[in-house]
Amino acid sequence: MDKVNGNHDVRIGFYVCNCGTNIAAMVDVQAVAKYVAALPNVVVSRDYKYMCSDPGQELIQKDIKEFGLNRIVVAACSPLLHEHTFRSAVEAGGLNPFFFHMVNIREHDSWVHTDRDEATAKAKALARAGIRRVARHRALEVKKVPVHPDVLVVGGGIAGIHAALTLAKSGKKVYLVEREPSIGGHMAKFDKTFPTLDCAACILTPKMSEVGAHENITLWSYSEVVKMDGYVGNFKVTVRRKPRYVLEDLCTGCQECISHCVYKEPKFPDAFNEHLGKRKPVYIPFPQATPQVVLIDPEVCLNFRRGVLTDKCKKPCVEACGDRKAIDFKQKEELKEIKVGTIIVATGFKTFDVGRMPQYGYGRYPNVYTALEVERLVNASGPTAGDVLLRDGHHPKSIGIIHCVGSRDKNTNRWCSRVCCMYSMKLAHLLKEHTEAEIYNFYIDIRAPGKGYEEFYDKLLEEGVHFIRGRVGEVTDWAFIPEEEGKLVIRVEDTLAGVVRRIPVDMVVLATGLEPHADAQNVRRLFNMSCGTEGFFLERHPKLAPVNTFTDGIFLAGCCQSPKDIPDSVAQAGAAAAEALVLIDTGHIEQEPNTAYVVEAECSGCKSCIPLCPYTAISLLPDKKKAYINEALCKGCGTCVAACPSGSIVQNLFEDAEIFSEIDGLLEPTSV
């Protein structure tokens, strides 16, 4: 056998996986095994049905012992999926885990090609490159880095709340950062929740209070993460706390300041009530808000002018606050720096912007509402105290609910938002209860696949709510007949009856779909995540790693990953918390040993590598005038290696010699 690294004979075992028929149907695996068997240094070459299975892994271990193998190559799926599995198998077989290389012939070959000969030829070339490469591999050691036990949860909707509480209850310190003045997210706006119709506030408020009171949770509302550095186990995060002009520690939530404000009546549109209600410049977003701390809106407060302090108001609020001295007009934004080991991103969703579908008349006809607005209208603590009073001052006698607004539509969003059928039916039920109006649902398909959901649909049918199957073409006030006069006419093709219908109603509700936040791309960059094509954050694996991201130590929960209902958001939040706990309780993470080092003898001290490193891991040893790489700071990108003019920097696992041998292996002519 050849001596490749000069230290010992290289004896390679090669395994090509059939993956059932996933690979074998398009790649002639036997031909590949036969071809590789004849390559230099190869001692064993086999094909096997499922290499990742226990017997597959045992096969490798048995061969290592029996044939004295010291290098292993597996040609199977993506290394991003199973490299770790096989490294562990190789290690269990008694070898250094890095005497292993994985060749991707599934995602990059059998699944994407249609000609068996071509796919087989490609598999042979890839395998050959792997064989050439692995011969040069060196034994490497995995470094263990401690994991900081504190956790950051970003977003305080139901998902963030649940994740934070789960972690706090297991004794971990949690920072919960919420952008809005209060936690609660969308759920805080709902009156009832499907399919059980239990009151949202009754199930959410206790959890919110628990967050506010828990000694292990530091709640920073009205705050945003502005910077994140570091890596799994050791993140350094900067949080910007926006000024509320009220000192959180001193405010008791008595709201005296609100009643004493110079504005006797609420005057400014209230975002929490979807602008259907009004608030004062000093306000608390909603009665159960957590933290129970008021805030002052400098855009409208008389003591400011366009956000700049003028101090021109009489400030009866300060007087009302009295000795508590909680109001501080000079409060500035604050930057807090924290260290955490793991991060859970739970930033939720926004609803579809109905302005993108002008044919439904939102903004043009006052009696067209979004679903979120109706959630507030039917809410006992909403702007109308639960009275469904239209913008034109009437009570509706007929209501049309249009499903799939901004969902399942190639002109807007293609995905199904998963909750709209159910919340539309919930709103249908609640509106009927509140108004006794005739209710029409316009749907494409009813999607009710959760526990108790189909039964809820049945219940609605029994309640006499009408269901008309068809995508609504238009909402118009153009009356054709006297009955349509003064009404909103919904034009729709009833696809079950096969006729185009015009249905006059008093109120239209648009069941808007769920989309990623407008700033999702920024948040993604901030936390080094990926987004899917729709813009929701991408999980590491759709089935097997649904709450992991591609960045270790950063997890996802709730609707920021994809539209889902509350039960699923909570389940995912629990899963994300459990993933964080795994890291914290293990206490350390194993770092891929792909860092770079300088071969001092060859370094000329030219310093060209130093400014290239984004992590300032490289410095010049002053006495020796040689570059030096701090391994703890190096993240293993290899940029300095590629740029070193004297070739004196080496990246472990990606050595020049390894890559050159891969190139040569790929391009060598195949002769079988």
Binding site: L80, H108, A121, C531, G638, A642, F654, I663, P669
Partner: protein, 174 residues
């Protein structure tokens, strides 16, 4: 199964061989996604996984061409999205320089390509590879090893003429 023989022009079964260097975080993952989504594309690329496109040493590209590649494709994260902050910019700078140098060697621009492909863009992996294969097929084989051998021969034999012939550049016929 003989279609991996070294490319020769005039041979009807010739099809280009392209070496691809994909960064682990974006483009390699995108290629995995193309696989999971069962997209179909030309079987002419062979991918080498690197942690970052910033790791791509110009020598890798020269080596690939010297060993008979008809094209080299580099895939990295979009600007601002690099997992390592700015490795892709470093690659971009090298790419610009290298492109000029390859042109001087008589290697057509279409044979050397840098693409930003995010982890979500499986479709782009497919379209970029298909497009590159189409363009290089139109150009025909590069056969740099053959050319280098010719050049070596010229160097050892006494030069017959005084004037040095200009470097021949390729023209695509697509």
């Amino acid at each position: 199964m003989e279609n991996e023989t070294p490319p020769t022009s005039g041979n009807g079964s010739w099809s280009p061989r392209i070496i691809a260097f994909f960064c682990n975080w974006c483009t390699y993952t995108a290629a995995d996604l193309a696989g999971v989504s069962r997209l179909k594309y030309a079987a002419n690329t062979r991918t080498i996984r690197l942690m970052c496109s910033g790791r791509v040493d110009p020598q890798f590209i020269l080596e690939a061409f010297a060993k008979g590649a008809d094209g080299v494709l580099i895939g990295g994260c979009h600007p601002n999205d690099c997992h390592y902050a700015e490795g892709n910019y470093k690659m971009l700078r090298r790419f610009q320089l290298l492109k000029r140098m390859l042109k001087d060697l008589g290697i057509a621009e279409e044979r050397f390509r840098l693409e930003w492909i995010s982890a979500a863009e499986g479709e782009k992996v497919k379209s970029v590879i298909n497009d590159m294969v189409k363009k290089i097929t139109a150009l025909g084989p590069l056969d740099l090893p053959g050319k280098v051998a010719d050049w070596d021969r010229e160097m050892t034999e006494p030069a017959p003429a005084v004037e040095s012939a200009p470097v021949e550049t390729e023209v695509a016929h697509a």
